[in-house]
């Protein structure tokens, strides 16, 4: 899973104004629960803006998992060995599973599966823009596991403690499985790096293409992040975009060294005073370009989802007709 898009505004940004207390007594109880680090459960009273924020975030997250099956699914039939094919199938199946855990969590907030599906297929809903980049070689599959899933894990671990119970519980399941995704990717890359020069070049090329999009997955800088303040107040976002990004960069440098690849950033260097790695400026224009629909694969991804959904319509209808006939 891949939470970059989490605080990308969708239709109208809600801004940073606190929600009006629709019911002061309930609002006070709600605030007290959040302040005490407690959980909000589906039937509990919650401010409408909290509900809306969660629906947007959880559904973007779910859509990202579902669309995330496409770039890697692209390589299932071309995996180099039976072992790698079995691993990739399991990983892609997990991504589908993660989407379903998350749709189920979103539905507890009163939105229907039909509405969620419709929002994705019509292009109204956002999903993580990382999936709008193409997977050009087998090394991309390994690099996605290592960097993209690695960034996702950093993003997702704090969500296991978020204030909305069903989302937090879904994230516990997701995080357990995500660790396999990252390790299998790194393992595939280690094997390629022990191969021919051509194979090593293929890994380096994939790292060059995926590094910057991966660190953009943490979202805009804190000072530019529209929803972060309110989400932190609500216990939905526990660690800021920039802090998570720094943590990811710090963890990844050593992994790149062990693998024997170079991260494509000449400004990447250890800063003794900060106790962190410094890194170069991010090209946000590219990020927003892809978020706003102009990436290499935006059109293909949505077309593939729509085709799968439409091709499956007769199955969904036949299964329902069969169930109704036998219930009668």
């Amino acid at each position: 899973m891949y939470t970059q898009a989490l605080d990308i505004p969708q239709q109208q940004p809600e801004g940073n104004t606190p929600p009006a207390a629709e019911n002061p007594v309930y609002q006070a109880e709600f605030d007290a629960k959040i302040d005490a680090g407690g959980f909000i459960e589906p039937k509990d009273w919650m401010p409408e803006s909290y509900r809306k924020t969660l629906i947007r975030q959880i559904s973007q997250h779910a859509h990202s998992e579902i669309v995330g099956m496409l770039p890697e699914g692209n390589w299932i039939t071309r995996a180099p060995t039976l072992k790698r094919k079995a691993i990739l199938l399991a990983k892609v199946q997990d991504e589908g599973g993660h989407g379903l855990y998350l749709y189920a969590a979103a539905e507890t907030l009163g939105v229907s599966r039909d509405e969620l599906t419709e929002a994705l297929l019509s292009g109204k809903a956002k999903y993580s823009s990382i999936f709008n980049y193409p997977t050009l070689s087998w090394a991309d599959v390994g690099v996605i596991g290592w960097l993209v899933d690695g960034a996702a894990i950093m993003n997702q671990i704090p969500l296991c403690k978020c204030s909305y119970g069903p989302y937090a519980r879904a994230m516990v399941r997701v995080c357990k499985e995500e660790s396999f995704h990252q390790r299998q990717g790194y393992d595939a890359l280690l094997q390629l790096m022990s191969g021919t020069q051509e194979q090593r070049d293929m890994v380096q090329d994939a790292v060059n293409r995926w590094w910057w999009p991966s660190i953009m997955m943490f979202g805009p800088h804190d000072k530019d992040s529209v929803h972060s303040g309110q989400s932190a107040r609500w216990g939905i976002k526990r660690i800021s975009n920039d802090d998570l990004r720094q943590k990811f960069v710090d963890a990844t440098v050593k992994q790149a060294e062990v693998l024997g690849v170079t991260l494509p950033d000449p400004e990447l260097k250890w800063n003794e005073a900060r106790g962190h790695y410094d890194f170069g400026a991010i090209e946000w224009d590219d990020f927003w370009n892809v978020v706003n629909g102009h990436g290499d694969c935006n059109v293909d991804r949505l077309a593939a989802r729509n085709k799968a959904w439409n091709d499956g319509a007769w199955v969904r209808e036949a299964a329902m007709a069969h169930a109704e006939k036998h219930a009668a």
């Binding site: 009273w45 599973g97 855990y101 509405e115 299964a319 329902m320 069969h322």
Partner: protein, 95 residues
């Protein structure tokens, strides 16, 4: 919009014999047989369970969160229902 989605089922998994079934999430499925199949694929890909229950979500009756005080608070002042309420002599306190 017209709702065409399959009905919602709540899923409960027994992780191993000797433990209760525990709620783990929900799935959409047209009937009970497929609900079990989908629940297996979604919630037990890593041997998380040895038994599954699926229940149509509409059949679950839940207590009202607003009724929490009258349902659960009366137990709050009945501390004599707990063994730790009783202070016994040290020699026999492990009773």
């Amino acid at each position: 919009m017209e709702r065409k989605e399959w009905p919602l089922w709540e899923v409960f998994v027994r992780s191993r014999n000797g433990l209760d079934h525990k709620h783990c999430g929900s799935v959409h499925a047209p009937d009970a047989k497929l609900a079990l199949q989908v629940a297996r694929d979604v919630y037990t890909r890593r041997q998380e369970g040895v038994s599954l229950w699926v229940v149509k979500a509409e059949h679950i009756v839940a207590s009202d969160p607003d009724a929490k005080p009258e349902l659960f608070d009366p137990a709050e002042d009945k501390i004599y229902r707990h063994p730790t309420f009783y202070k016994l002599p040290d020699e026999v306190n492990h009773m």
